[in-house]
């Protein structure tokens, strides 16, 4: 039996602090109807836990409810901040104001970093935000999303 992707990646789960989760939800609600977006940084621990230490809230330069593009200047500044703080870029997050927390075809097409975790927050059901994590496998046109377990800690 072959290893599952999760095992092959050595990733057991993603942890994110409750206060950071709450900030993501608050930011995404504030940005509605547009999609909100940002980056996540932290560390990959030896026990297979991908620990989100810092969340970045960046500008969606598309300013629509159907698409997001992270401001590259803010992305550059965030990457440098991560480096200065000894944090590893772990991936990004964005909101789906009206649709479920699963990658769309466009999300898959633009998920170009196989090592990244992509977090999606759905606001489709009022009062019940849903955060899911994914990574992508396969080449362009044949990409598939694989779910990653998220644990919200503390709070």
């Amino acid at each position: 039996m072959s290893l599952s992707t999760k095992e092959a990646r050595g990733l057991v789960k993603i942890t994110i602090k409750k206060e950071d989760y709450d900030k993501i939800v608050a930011h995404a609600l504030k940005e509605r109807p547009d999609e909100a977006c940002g980056l996540i940084a932290g560390r990959d621990r030896d026990d297979g836990v991908r620990e989100v230490v810092k969340v970045y809230f960046l500008t969606n330069i598309d300013h629509t409810n159907e698409h997001f593009s992270i401001d590259p200047k803010e992305q550059l500044a965030a990457v440098r901040d991560m480096r200065a703080q000894g944090l590893k870029p772990l991936g990004n997050w964005h909101s789906h104001p009206e649709t479920p927390a699963r990658p769309s075809e466009e999300d898959l097409r633009l998920s170009n970093d196989k090592n990244a975790s992509y977090l999606i927050l759905s606001l489709a059901v009022k009062g019940h935000p849903v955060l899911n994590g994914f990574h992508v496998e396969g080449e362009q046109g044949e990409r598939q999303a694989r779910k990653e377990e998220i644990e919200i800690i503390g709070g």
């Binding site: 999609e35 992270i70 590259p72 200047k73 104001p97 649709t99 999300d107 170009n112």
Partner: protein
Amino acid sequence: MTIKVAGEQKQMADGITVAGLIEAEQVENPQYVTVSVNEEFIDAGDFASHVLNEGDEVEFLYFMGGGR
């Protein structure tokens, strides 16, 4: 010459271009990579002609986007 790539000092041949650096660094999915040199973003159409200089600071960023 020495240039800084993603925060690390690297030795590269004089006259190397952005496109040459992308190849030398074996950047995955380079068609989706945004490149900055000394915090200035370089147009993808200029990758092959933009020559890097001693002390340049280069960053590779994956375009980050998506849609519902």
